[in-house]
Every structure is written in structure tokens, then in C-alpha cells.
Amino acid sequence: MASFAEKIKEAAKNVLKEGLASGILAYTKGQDIFCERITFVSTKDEISKIIWPSFGGLNPANYLKKLKGKKLALFAPGCVARAVVVLIKEGQIKREDVFLIGVPCPGMLDPKKLKNSFPQIIAIEDDFKENLTIKTPSTSKNLKRIDFLRDTCLYCKYPLPETYNILLPAEGKRPAKDPYALVEQIEGLDISLRSKWFWDQFLSRCIRCYACRNACPLCYCDFCFVDETRPAWIGKSRDPIDVALYHLVRAYHLAGRCVECGACQAACPFDIPVALLTKKLGKEALHAFGYEAGLSLEEPLLFNTFHENDPEDFIFTHKLKEQGKI
């Protein structure tokens, strides 16, 4: 039976041969084992370099904006397909310009989880199902993939894409039974502990490198609000108030849009759980409006619709009225 990596290369070859796209956005190997890179692949020679990533933190859909005007193919696990769907619905790209090779996703590994447990890894063998073998200078060890998955993949609801042109036969990871477990952990904290969490994780560590913003496939504004200078909406230093403003506005701009790919969190050099903020808002959108981003091309965008039955209890004045305060 063909290995996962071979299936990927075979599919890429066919796409180019049949002229279904002018190129493919795919992962290739980088300079070391933890380093994988998204590349624009358009020749036979380049196809031989395509890999399925073990770590693949970034979302290839993020690179569509760099290649506007080209018809492109992407390997699409659930989160990539969802990001593409949102981009199509928001008018950023056209459906016919993207060829989606659906991939039932085995989940991506977290290099930091591996490095923390085994600081001296020199080689990794990944079966892209359940098992992983690592080699250090002194030993070789069999591990379970699930113990080293990125948190965002561990709690992923849609490893299988809903939208695709072709679907590769593979098993993929099972959808998480408790996708909001980490969000609920924070929600369950007392308000002072919750603000301490925000302070300790975000405000005292973030260096405003904007990797989370730039890694996001759905952050595509030509000029971001943080870059505005006339007027400057936000201070440029690492002052906690400005850091808080940045993270909260970023999260709100993704409310009902975030596809939970986790690229923001994977990009953060400080491992700040930035994806939890957008996931929390995804949970709100689901519970209040029964909406999940990027699952269907037909369903209108969350912010383009209004129903009489839409809940309004998040509106503060509404609550104050109930309490007879206004």
C-alpha cells in the first residue's frame, strides 16, 4: 500500500498533469527536522520535494494572498478547507481558482512538546496515524502521536474537510469529543484568576511581533489597525494596556470567522495560547447563533444575517433594563 507521503506526491503530480492548477501550495522539508516550509510548487522536480508535514504549524491558505491571480491547488485538511471557504465567502478568492485536495488530517505535532520531553532528537519517523518513533544520540523510542499533538489539533472538531475537489483516502484523526475543554477550563476560573491568566500568559510576555496576526489565513487587511498612525488607535510599546487591546481586537476581528487552524499559536515564539481567545469567540458564535465558520459555501456569513430570534442577552443595556437600572 502506498504510504501517506506517496499518496500526497501522486495527487500533486496528477493535479499538474491534468492542468487543474498552475501550481500547488505544499510543505517541503526545511533545514532541520522541526523545520518545514510552505512552498509554491510548479515543476516535476519540485513535486519530488513535497512532504506531508509532521509539525506544519502554518496554514497554506495564508499564502493565497501572495499569489493572487493564479489558479492554485492546496492540500486541505479540515482547517485549510475551512479557511479557503471563508476567504471565498468574503470575496477574497474565487472558488474556481482553488483546487482542494482534501486530506483527512492526522493532526500536527507540537515541536515544543517533543523538545521538552526529549531535548536531543536527531531523527523522527512518523506514520501519520497513531505512532511516532524518535531517535536521540543514545536511544530510539516509540511514542503515541496523540501525546505530542498541538493543543489546537488535539481539540480539533473537523480533521476531515467538508469542502474539497478530490479526497485522498486516509484515516485521519478522530474529531475531538470535547473541543472546547481548554476554553471551559479558563471560563471556569474565578474572574480574578481569569485576569491573572490573561496577565501571565499574554500581557507580561507578548513582544508585539505580530506573528499571530501574520500567520492567520483570515487576517488579510491591507493596512492593519495596529499600523495606523493618523490617528494611532493603539500604542506601539509593550505597555500591558496596548498588548491587551491588540489581542482583544485581533480576537474580535476573528469572531465567527476563525477556523481554529492554530497557525497563530504555532507561530508564537513564546507559546502564548492566542488560539484560545478566538476559539472562545467561536464557541460563543456556535452557542448563540448555531454558526461555525467555513463549513459550508452556501450558508451566509454570520455577520451578514439577522434573525428575529437571535439572542441579545450579550447586549449590556438589555441586562441593565432587566435589572431596572435604565
Binding site: 526545511g30 533545514q31 532541520d32 523545520c35 518545514e36 516550509r37 510552505i38 512552498t39 509554491f40 504549524g57 502554518l58 495564508n62 499564502y63 501572495k66 510576555r205 513582544i207 508585539r208 511581533c209 505580530y210 506573528a211 496576526r213 501574520n214 500567520a215 493596512f223 499600523d227 498612525t229 494611532a232 500604542g235 506601539k236 510599546s237 509593550r238 505597555d239 504555532a266 507561530a267 515564539p269 513564546f270
Partner: protein, 326 residues
């Protein structure tokens, strides 16, 4: 002059230093105030650059009222000792100093800070100071360099200030200790030569590198986030902003990144480095051509932070090589 201190006296030494000035030791993410314990596991993500070019440097205070004159501010930094600095990070400060020697803020902070370096004994796979032409045992940029060998610490003061940082318990080194120190230093540099690419880059025509076609391919994966520039111990670019609350304001200096669109945004609206490629190219041209031509050495100390932390898998050696071979 070389001194010997028993390894078990390390805590005494730190206590001695703590009485002299505010003492900082390496943490996982940054240098942190000494609180009775110390580890030297790895380089902190943020280099000691943070102490000299802080994330927020107030330069001027002003009032938004007619006739009010602004007031120049100057920092009043405490005396500080930074302990456990790597040779690469210390050398980086000598490079920054070439550019900032006239700067009041940098100079004051530099004067009030002592750097105690710890020699790296083992070769690491992700850093390469020697390739950038740095001898990590020269003590360049440090006030005192120490080396940990078995149960001994060998202390080598580099500057006059460094001599005052040697604890009274330290004994003058015996000839065999001196021989040991020299041997370790010699062994470290065995078969490690400055990269031949640097020589090639010096000779290459600037515009040939600038106009080369490889930039498009190599810059493709780059997200243009600020991780590499903010974690880099040598990147020194800044921006100046006004923080105004009501009628009062502060003009502050903050670190900036050439990866950002805002970095070159003109007041007219024109931006000479609009494209991600242009911004990517500038960073490497600055480090390995403009600075090299101006000062005779590259603006890189080989700490490896950019390579290890780049979410897009960019590796600077690929670029140096391409620049040298074009």
C-alpha cells in the same frame, strides 16, 4: 589574570554580586531578577539587548498647550549586573555600540551595566558564533568571563569593572588552571573557521546581490512578522511615537522591525518597501552587506534564535549562501 572559585561557591558569588547591583540571571524567556536560583540550560529567547534598547524608552515629555516647552528626559538606570550572558549576546552589544555610541540613552545604560559571561563548552547544533568570525573565549563585550569545568569555576576579568566583580573567595589561578582554560578555548575553535561566504560577500557588488532573482523564491515563505528582528541580539532599529493622554504626552522610543509595513511608511502615504520581498531583502542586505561594508563584519553573531524560532522555516544560511553565490 585568571581566578579559581569552587563550583559550590557559586551561590556565594551571586550573593556578593547582588549586594553590588541589581542582578539578573538567564530565564527561559528572558533575563530575570535573581531570586536565589540559577540554571544555564539554554539561551533566553530575549537577548540582553532588552536592557540597552528597552521596549519603551521615554525621551521627551510635553504638554499640548501653547507656549509650553517640551522637557528632555534622560534615563536613570540602576547599576545592573547581568549574569550568565553568552559570548554571542555580549559581542552583539559591541556591534550595536558602533551605531549607538553617540546615543545618550544607550550610553547611560551601557555605562551602568556589567556583563558576566559564561563560556559555552559544547558545540550546539543550532548556533554558530565562530562562523561569523567571533571567538567566544575572547570575552569581547563582557566585563568578566567564566568557565565551568568539573567542580571549578575559572574567572577571567576582561575590563577594570570586571576585576571588581571577582569575589574575595576566588583564588589566583595556578599554572595548570591557566593551561586548562587555554586548552578549552583552543579546542572549542578547532576546525571552526569564519564562513567563507563572508569574504565572498565583502567582494560582491552590492547591486548584483540586491537585484538577484533568488530573493523571490527565498522570501516566499516569510510571514513578515517581527520574530527574527525582535529576538535578534543585534537588530537595533527603532521607532518614535507619542503617547498622549489628555493634554500631556510622552515621546517614546520603541523597538521596530524592518519586516513591518509601517517601518518605511512615509507621511505622504508612499512606501518604498511595500512588497514583502523588499522588506525581507532589506533585513539580510543590512546584516550581510550594508553593515559588512561599513564596519567590516556582519551584523550577526550566530546565536541561531532566528532560525530556531521562525514559524515559516526560514534559515539564514540559505540566504547567506545565495547572496554569496549570485
Amino acid at each position: 589574570m585568571l581566578y579559581v572559585l569552587g563550583r559550590e561557591k557559586l551561590d556565594n558569588w551571586l550573593a556578593f554580586l547582588e549586594k553590588k547591583a541589581r542582578l539578573f540571571v538567564p530565564g527561559k524567556e528572558k533575563f530575570e531578577p535573581y531570586q536565589g536560583n540559577i540554571t544555564f540550560e539554554s539561551k533566553p529567547l530575549l537577548s540582553p539587548k532588552e536592557f540597552f534598547l528597552p521596549p519603551r524608552e521615554p525621551m521627551l515629555s510635553f504638554e499640548v498647550t501653547p507656549g509650553a516647552f517640551p522637557e528632555k528626559l534622560s534615563p536613570s538606570p540602576d547599576e545592573r549586573i547581568i549574569f550568565g550572558v553568552r559570548a554571542c549576546d555580549a559581542y552583539a552589544l559591541t556591534l550595536i555600540k558602533k551605531v549607538y555610541q553617540e546615543d545618550v540613552f544607550f550610553s547611560l545604560r551601557y555605562k551602568n551595566t556589567s556583563l558576566i559571561g559564561k563560556a559555552c563548552l559544547a558545540e550546539s547544533t543550532d548556533c554558530f558564533c565562530w562562523a561569523m568570525g567571533i571567538d567566544p573565549f575572547s570575552g569581547s563585550g563582557l566585563d568578566l568571563l567564566f568557565l565551568e569545568k568539573d567542580e571549578k569555576l575559572l574567572l577571567k576579568p576582561i575590563t577594570e569593572k570586571g576585576k571588581t566583580l571577582v569575589p574575595v573567595e576566588a583564588k589566583e589561578a595556578l599554572p595548570e588552571d591557566k593551561a586548562l582554560f587555554n586548552e578549552i578555548a583552543k579546542n572549542f575553535l578547532k576546525n571552526k573557521n569564519p564562513s567563507p561566504s563572508l569574504l565572498r560577500l565583502k567582494e560582491k557588488d552590492l547591486m548584483t546581490i540586491y537585484n538577484a532573482s533568488f530573493w523571490e523564491k527565498l522570501s516566499f515563505a516569510c510571514l513578515n512578522c517581527g520574530i527574527c528582528t525582535f529576538l535578534c541580539p543585534t537588530c537595533y532599529c527603532f521607532d518614535v511615537h507619542d503617547e498622549v493622554v489628555g493634554e500631556k504626552g510622552l515621546r517614546i522610543r520603541v523597538p521596530d522591525s524592518c519586516m513591518f509595513l509601517l517601518y518605511t511608511q512615509h507621511a505622504s502615504g508612499h512606501n518604498p518597501r511595500r512588497s514583502p520581498l523588499a522588506r525581507f531583502r532589506n533585513r539580510f542586505m543590512h546584516k550581510f552587506k550594508y553593515f559588512l561594508d561599513e564596519y567590516g563584519e556582519p551584523l550577526c553573531v550566530g546565536c541561531g534564535r532566528c532560525n530556531t524560532n521562525c514559524p515559516a522555516g526560514i534559515n539564514l544560511w540559505e540566504i547567506i549562501q545565495a547572496m554569496g553565490e549570485v
